[in-house]
C-alpha cells in the first residue's frame, strides 16, 4: 500500500511481511526506529510466530541470529557503525556457516572520533565478510530489497546485508509502496534450510576444517557469490513482475547512452547520493554535457562484467564514494579498476559525505566543472586550511593534543553552512 512513511518504518513493515521467526535487536543510531517498529509489531501480534529478543550487544544479536537460523528459523537483525564492527566475528561466522540471515545496515561513520552520521565506512569494512551487500538508493528500494534479500539468501544459503543510508534514508519520510504480507507470501517461499539442527537427524555443524579442505571451502564461498551474480538479476526481474516495480539488480545505468552515443563522463556511486547526482547530471545534460551515472546496487558480489559493459567506451569515470581505505584511497574505485582492466578509461576517486557532510548539488557541479583536472584522489569540500594548520602543529612536535579536538577548536562553535 502506498503511504507517506519514514524509511525505517517502511523497512520494518517489509521485514514483518517476510514472516521472520526470530528478530534480535540491540539499539544503535540510526537503526533504532527499525527495531522499535518491529518490536511494536511483534508485541501487538502482527508478526505471527515471531520471537522478538532484546539482546545485550550486537555480538549477541548476530549470535542469536546464527543460532536461530541454524535451527531453521528465518532470522533478522539490524545494526550500524560501531555495532557492525562489534559483531564482526559473528558476521564472518554466519556467512561461513552458510546461514541466510538478513541484516539491515543503517550506514553510519565509524569512530574515533565518534560520529553518528551517515557514510559507508561500516558496510565497506565488511565487504570481505562473505555476505551479499545490496545498497538501497531510495526508501522504496530499501523496503523492497529486504524481500529480495530473503529470497536470495535462502536460495543461495548465504546471508545478505541490506545497506541503507543512515538518517538520509532511515529517517526520511516519503511515499513508499510498502510490500504487504499477501504479496510477499505469494512470492517468497517458506525457508527450507540446506542444513538444520534437528534432534531427529543429528549432524555436527561448525566443525573444524584443516588445510586439507579449507581452501576448497573458501573457494565455494566465492563460487556461491559468483552464482549470486546470475541469480540477482533473475530474482529482481521476478520481483518486478510480481510487485510491478524495479528494485535491486546489479547495476543501474542512467543517461549513459543517449542519442546513440556513450557518455564521455560517468559518475559511479552507491546509495542515496545517486538521487542528488542524477539531478546534477540532468542539469548538465541540459547544458549539453555528455555525462551519465552508474549506480551499483550489488557491491558484493561485485558485478565485474556488468560494470565493464556499462562503462566500456566512456572516457572518464568519477567515483563518488562515502568511505575510503586509509593509506590508499577509494574502495569502490579499486574494485572498479579491476572491472575496467585494459580499458582506456581515466578513473578519478572523490571521497565525499564522510560523517554526514552533505553532498550538495553545488559541490558536485563545481567538482564536475573541474573534470579535466581532477587529482586521482580528492576529498569533496575538504577544508584545506583547517587541515594544514593541524599538520603544522603536528610538525612542530611536542604534546600537540588530539587532532579532532584541535580542529574543533579552530572551527569555533559548530555551525551549519548554507548548502
Amino acid at each position: 500500500m502506498r503511504q507517506q512513511i519514514e524509511g525505517s518504518q517502511a523497512v520494518a513493515q517489509a521485514v514483518a511481511a517476510c514472516r521472520p521467526q526470530v528478530i534480535c535487536a540491540y539499539p544503535i543510531s540510526p537503526q533504532t526506529h527499525i527495531v522499535e517498529t518491529l518490536s511494536r509489531l511483534t508485541k501487538a501480534g502482527e508478526v505471527p510466530g515471531c520471537e522478538f529478543m532484546n539482546v545485550e550487544s550486537e555480538f549477541a544479536a548476530m549470535s542469536v541470529a546464527i543460532g536461530a537460523s541454524a535451527a531453521g528459523a528465518r532470522a533478522y537483525t539490524a545494526t550500524a557503525s560501531q555495532g557492525l564492527l562489534f559483531m564482526v566475528e559473528a558476521v564472518y561466522n554466519a556467512s561461513g556457516l552458510g546461514l541466510p540471515i538478513v541484516m539491515t545496515v543503517a550506514n553510519r561513520a565509524i569512530g574515533a572520533p565518534i560520529n553518528i552520521w551517515n557514510d559507508h565506512s561500516d558496510a565497506m569494512s565488511q565487504r570481505d565478510s562473505g555476505w551479499l551487500q545490496l545498497y538501497a538508493e531510495t526508501n522504496q528500494e530499501a523496503a523492497d530489497l529486504h524481500v529480495i534479500a530473503y529470497r536470495l539468501a535462502e536460495e543461495l544459503s548465504l546471508p545478505v546485508m541490506v545497506c541503507m543510508d543512515g538518517f538520509i534514508l532511515t529517517h526520511a519520510v516519503e511515499e513508499v509502496d510498502v510490500p504487504e504480507r499477501d504479496q510477499v507470501d505469494a512470492w517468497l517461499p517458506p525457508y527450507a534450510p540446506r542444513q538444520v539442527l534437528d534432534p531427529d537427524d543429528a549432524a555436527s555443524i561448525g566443525a573444524m576444517v584443516g588445510p586439507e579442505a579449507f581452501t576448497e571451502v573458501r573457494y565455494l564461498a566465492h563460487a556461491r557469490q559468483m552464482q549470486a551474480l546470475e541469480l540477482i538479476p533473475q530474482v529482481c526481474d521476478s520481483f518486478q513482475q510480481h510487485f510491478g516495480r524495479e528494485a535491486g539488480g546489479l547495476v543501474r545505468p542512467y543517461r549513459i547512452d543517449e542519442d546513440g552515443q556513450r557518455a564521455e563522463t560517468v559518475v559511479v556511486a552507491l546509495g542515496s547520493v545517486l538521487g542528488t547526482i542524477k539531478d546534477v547530471v540532468d542539469a548538465r545534460r541540459e547544458q549539453g554535457e555528455s555525462i551519465g551515472v552508474l549506480g551499483i546496487q550489488s557491491f558484493r558480489p561485485f558485478p565485474m562484467e556488468a560494470v565493464r559493459s556499462a562503462l566500456d567506451g566512456v572516457r572518464r569515470v568519477i567515483v563518488v564514494e562515502k568511505a575510503f581505505s586509509v593509506g590508499i584511497g577509494g574502495i569502490v574505485a579499486s574494485n572498479l579498476r579491476m572491472a575496467l582492466d585494459h580499458l582506456d578509461i581515466e578513473l578519478r576517486t572523490v571521497v565525499a559525505g564522510l560523517g554526514g557532510r552533505p553532498i550538495t548539488t553545488r559541490s558536485l557541479h563545481a567538482l564536475f566543472d573541474r573534470r579535466d583536472s581532477l587529482e586521482p584522489l580528492e576529498f569533496l569540500d575538504l577544508d584545506r586550511e583547517l587541515v594544514d594548520r593541524e599538520l603544522e602543529r603536528h610538525a612542530a612536535g611536542g604534546r600537540t593534543g588530539g587532532a579532532a579536538e584541535n580542529l574543533l577548536k579552530d572551527l569555533g562553535s559548530v555551525r551549519s553552512t548554507p548548502h
Binding site: Q21, V22, C24, G49, C50, E51, M53, N54, V55, E56, S57, F59, A60, S63, V64, A65, I66, G67, A68, S69, A70, A71, G72, A73, A75, E89, A90, N93, L97, L197, D198, P199, D201, A202, A203, S204, I205, G206, A207, M208, V209, G210, A213
Partner: protein, 358 residues
C-alpha cells in the same frame, strides 16, 4: 547465606568402597542407577575422540550430555563454544557427537543457544531442549557477556561450564577461573609471588545466582552420579539454568592422568570447590564434605602448585589457600553437624607434617 541447607537430592546414598567414594551402581535399585550405567544410553560423545588421557572435561561432558539427552527424551540439541571439547570431538569429517550439535564461536555459545531456543519457541517445538556448553574461558571470560544476557532474559537454555581453570586448548594460559597461586604459561612460577595473583578471578556460579535464574548448581567429576542428578534436575526447569562442573586437566594442572577423579575429590573434600544447588538465587542444598582434607592434599597432586612445596614450603600462601577453603566451608555449611570430621583432618594434618619433616 545460611549454613543450614538441605543435603543434595541424592545425598542419602552413601557408598563406602575401600579407598574411594565411587558410586556402586550395582548396589542401587534400577531407577536410581546412573544414566551411564544404562546400556541404552545415548553415548552422545562416542569413542574415538582426541581428548588427552585422563581428560576431566571429556568425562564430565559425557555424563552431562547423556543425562540431558535422557531427560529430554532424545530431543536435545547442543551448542558448543570453541575450546578443547569442540576441538577434540570434531575434526571433519569425523565427529564424536551423536546429537545435533552446533559450534559457532568462542565467545558466543550462550547467545547462539538463546537463538536456537528462540527458533524452537517460534516454531512451536517446545519438545526440543537446548544445551549450551563450553570451558571456563568460553564461559567465565570471553563468553561472559553472552552468558549474563542469556541469564537475565531467562532464555530456555541449560548451560554447562566445564571448568578446568584455564585456557588449556591454547596451551595452558590463565583465565578468570584460574585459582590463586596456580602456575600457568601466563602466570608463571617465577618472581616474588609465583603463579596467579590472589585477589583476582570470579565466582560465576554465585554470579549466576545473582541473576535469580531458576537453577544453578556446581558439580565435579568426582561424583558423577551427583552430576547426572543435577543435570536431570536442571532439565525439570524451563528458563535459564547453569551448571558449573570442575573438570581436572592433567595436562594443564600437571596431575597424573589416573588421578583425575582423586584430584576433583580433593577439591571438594578440602572445601576449595563447594558443591551445591541453588534455585532462584538461594542455595537449596550442599554436598557435605565427608572426609575433610587440608588443601595441601589437593595441591600436592598438581605440578601447577609445585612451587608452594619446593624448594621450600610457602607457608604464607598455603595458609591463604587454606583460608579460601575454610571460607567456602563456612559460607556453604559444607561440614554439617558431624563433629568427628574435624578430628579426622587434624590427624591427617599431623601425618602430612610428619611427611614434610622427613
Amino acid at each position: 547465606m545460611t549454613q543450614t541447607h538441605e543435603s543434595a537430592a541424592h545425598d542419602h546414598l552413601k557408598f563406602y568402597q575401600v579407598g574411594s567414594f565411587a558410586i556402586g551402581n550395582r548396589l542401587l535399585p534400577l531407577e536410581v542407577r546412573s544414566v551411564q550405567a544404562d546400556p541404552e544410553r545415548n553415548n552422545a560423545i562416542t569413542s574415538g575422540h582426541r581428548a588427552c588421557q585422563g581428560c576431566g572435561e571429556a568425562l564430565g561432558a559425557r555424563y552431562a550430555v547423556d543425562a540431558a539427552f535422557r531427560a529430554a527424551q532424545g530431543k536435545l540439541v547442543a551448542v558448543n563454544a570453541t575450546g578443547c571439547l569442540e576441538v577434540f570431538s570434531t575434526p571433519y569429517p569425523e565427529t564424536s557427537w551423536r546429537i545435533a550439535w552446533l559450534h559457532s564461536l568462542f565467545g558466543n555459545a550462550p547467545a547462539v543457544a538463546s537463538g536456537v531456543a528462540a527458533a524452537y519457541k517460534a516454531m512451536g517445538r517446545d519438545d526440543i531442549r537446548v544445551l549450551g556448553q563450553g570451558g571456563d574461558g568460553g564461559t567465565v571470560d570471553i563468553g561472559f557477556g553472552a552468558l549474563s544476557g542469556m541469564f537475565e532474559r531467562n532464555d530456555d537454555v541449560l548451560y554447562v561450564c566445564y571448568d578446568n581453570e584455564g585456557y588449556m586448548n591454547t596451551g595452558v594460559q590463565r583465565s578468570g577461573a584460574t585459582p590463586p597461586a596456580a602456575r600457568t604459561m601466563t602466570t608463571q612460577a617465577v618472581g616474588e609471588a609465583p603463579g596467579n595473583p590472589f585477589g583476582m578471578g570470579k565466582d560465576v556460579p554465585r554470579i549466576a545466582m545473582a541473576h535469580e535464574i531458576p537453577y544453578v548448581a556446581t558439580a565435579t567429576v568426582a561424583d558423577l552420579h551427583d552430576l547426572e542428578a543435577k543435570v536431570t534436575r536442571a532439565m525439570e526447569f524451563r528458563g535459564a539454568r547453569y551448571i558449573h562442573v570442575l573438570v581436572p586437566c592433567p595436562l594443564g594442572w600437571g596431575s597424573s592422568s589416573h588421578d583425575t577423579i582423586k584430584v576433583a575429590r580433593a577439591a571438594t573434600q578440602s572445601g576449595l570447590f563447594p558443591v551445591f544447588e541453588a534455585e532462584r538465587g538461594d542455595v537449596t542444598a550442599v554436598s557435605r564434605i565427608r572426609k575433610r582434607v587440608p588443601v595441601e592434599d589437593y595441591l600436592r597432586l598438581q605440578k601447577r602448585f609445585a612451587h608452594l612445596f619446593t624448594p621450600e614450603r610457602d607457608e604464607e600462601v598455603l595458609a591463604k589457600l587454606q583460608a579460601r577453603a575454610d571460607r567456602n566451608i563456612a559460607r556453604y555449611g559444607l561440614l554439617g553437624p558431624d563433629g568427628d570430621i574435624e578430628e579426622g583432618i587434624a590427624a591427617r594434618r599431623d601425618e602430612l607434617e610428619g611427611e614434610g619433616a622427613q
